[in-house]
């Protein structure tokens, strides 16, 4: 099961024209968080908000739809969102916190919920955990290398960046540039090389671009909380869906990429264990399913 436990897989997008314009893919994250805010399912959300430098996000507690939408779009660098959860509860006094998290961040949150050693009264206030798929992440200086050095563009001019079809893309007002993903190798965050989760297996609901056509997202509903908020948003007409079977390239590609990531990274884990380096995961020989996330 390389996609984790899920209830339903769907292709989906926000029906809101404004969200469609600014979102990375189908705008599922922005649409669901705004909807949950309106419906008081959450009273605020931690997102990767705009920072001082263009494309260098800062974790932010968003209390309005405007703030949520200002955080739309993928930034391929670090946004330590988990850091802000305590602040959301303490300084902002939120009782029901929503958040968006890449797989490793969902791991930090779920571990804290199961074993809250030092984190007093935060665990029970996480009301909605939306996960986004993640193959790898990059230090900000790596991004600068791709954009400024390799493509010769100032980051301020970039309106969107994306990884797809074997390339790293940037879009400016009047241009579309790319470098082959091969050229990004060696610039990834090294902690990603032992990561065994592609599709945020522990989120309430996970979403990403792979599997669905441009402008659409692939959604996996996982927990009751995730399923219910998604269904309510669909019923309210804020999200439209298509069966995965009707879209191309479909779930097969998602499964393939998830499997590739896990296989490659389990190999790295095995190598590190053989070298005697610490890794919090098991060697493949110790596991019934070598692709499981532990």
């Amino acid at each position: 099961m390389v996609l984790g436990t899920y209830k339903e897989a769907l292709s989906a997008r926000s029906t809101d024209k404004q969200i469609q314009k600014i979102a990375q893919d189908g705008g599922i994250v922005s649409a669901l968080l705004s909807f949950a805010l309106d419906e008081k399912i959450i009273d605020g959300a931690v997102v990767a908000g705009p920072g001082k430098d263009m494309w260098k996000p800062e974790p932010q507690v968003a209390l309005t739809s405007d703030e949520l939408l200002a955080a739309a779009g993928t930034k391929y660098t670090f946004s330590p969102n988990v850091w802000m959860l305590k602040k959301a509860v303490r300084q902002y006094g939120l009782e029901k916190v929503g958040t968006v998290a890449i797989p490793c961040q969902t791991m930090g949150i779920r571990k804290m919920q199961s074993y809250p050693f030092g984190v007093r009264f935060v665990a029970d206030k996480i009301a909605l955990l939306l996960g986004i798929y993640c193959m790898e992440n990059f230090p900000f200086a790596s991004l600068q290398t791709f954009i400024s050095e390799k493509m010769g563009v100032s980051p301020e001019l970039v309106e969107k960046m994306d990884i797809g079809k074997g390339k790293f893309w940037i879009y400016t007002a009047d241009d579309e540039l790319s470098i082959p993903l091969k050229e990004t190798h060696g610039y990834e965050q090294s902690g990603c090389k032992v990561c065994l989760d592609y599709v945020a297996e522990l989120a309430d609901l996970s979403t990403g671009s792979v599997g669905s056509p441009d402008g659409w997202s692939t959604v996996l509903t996982r927990t009751d909380a995730g399923e219910s908020v998604f269904k309510l948003a669909v019923d309210a007409g804020l999200i439209e869906t298509k069966p995965m079977a009707d879209v191309k390239p479909g779930l097969g590609l998602l499964e393939k990429l998830a499997k590739d990531k896990k296989t490659k990274n389990q190999k790295t884990i095995d190598e590190r264990i053989a070298m005697g380096l610490p890794v919090p995961y098991k060697a493949s020989t110790e596991k019934e399913d070598p692709l499981a996330n532990f």
Binding site: F78, S79, P280
Partner: protein
């Protein structure tokens, strides 16, 4: 009653275990841990209502205050599920009785004969000795003690409890959250070894410091910029710079929570699966 407490703790969605999951071994001394497992099982099996003692060494009472913050479940927990048989601030009793679980708060002052004596006596009379809170588990801020103060200028050396006696479980935290205290007590009553395993492993983590994030995570190519460490630090000693934890050592009290809470220090996937149903 147990059901209500479990519901409160979000522990009820626990599917039956049909396969035994091999538990990760972290602490080098194997025999020590096996003995602890037996002790926990014994407490769970033999005594449906365990006798609990609270021992206050060089601590600030914050850990027992945190226990009492389980408002919703405290009264039934104390009256129906456990017997509190000993403890300054809790029970009017001077001699140390036999008990199943001893919650020890605070580190031990090596110059204070009375503390050493009390600790050793508790070890003899208790089935399970729990290092309760970071002072007991890691020394926490008493690691900075160096004597020279009135009225006992010679009282300078404070060490975690496990330096002096064998400890079975550690619940670090400055203070440990009310939830982890309640979850641990419930797990002990249930003999839920699976849940308690990390607490047994943490007995060996006595030399804690914020710098562990750098040494054991960043230096080992494991950090992924999640920010869990910065969130969990009780003194806001950790901030994130370029996606990596930056520890202000002047603020760090060596409680160990940042590293313990980091998803790249140890990873309890089986438990998370049970808790989330995923």
């Amino acid at each position: 009653m147990l059901a209500r407490i479990k519901r409160f703790l979000g522990m009820e969605a626990k599917p039956k275990e049909d396969e035994k999951v091999p538990v990760e071994k972290k602490v080098p001394t194997e025999e020590k841990k096996v003995a602890s497992e037996e002790e926990v099982e014994k407490v769970a099996e033999e005594k449906p209502k365990p006798r609990i003692g609270y021992i206050h060494l060089s601590g600030c009472t914050g850990d027992v205050m945190s226990l009492s913050e389980n408002y919703d479940i405290l009264a039934p927990l104390l009256t129906e599920m456990v017997d509190i048989v000993y403890g300054q601030t809790l029970v009017d009793r001077w001699d140390i009785p036999e008990m199943d679980i001893a919650l020890i708060e605070g580190s031990v002052c090596l110059q204070d004969e009375h503390s050493l004596h009390e600790l050793k006596e508790v070890r003899e009379k208790a089935g399970l000795v729990v290092a309760f809170g970071s002072c007991a588990a890691t020394g926490c801020f008493t690691r900075y003690s160096r004597g020279g103060q009135q009225a006992q200028p010679a009282h300078e050396s404070f060490v975690p409890v496990a330096d002096v006696v064998k400890v079975d479980l550690a619940i670090p935290g400055c203070p440990p959250s009310p939830e982890i205290i309640a979850k641990t007590v419930v797990a002990v009553i249930n003999g839920d070894m699976d849940y308690l395993q990390p607490m047994m492993d943490l007995v060996g983590y006595t030399e804690a410091c914020g710098c562990d994030l750098q040494l054991k995570v960043v230096n080992q190519a494991l950090c992924i910029a999640c920010g869990t460490c910065a969130m969990s630090c009780p003194t806001r000693a950790v901030s994130m710079t370029a996606g990596r934890p930056e520890v202000n050592s002047d603020r760090c009290v060596k409680c160990g929570v940042c590293y313990i809470q980091c998803p790249r220090s140890w990873w309890p996937m089986e438990r998370i699966k049970k808790d989330t149903g995923l």
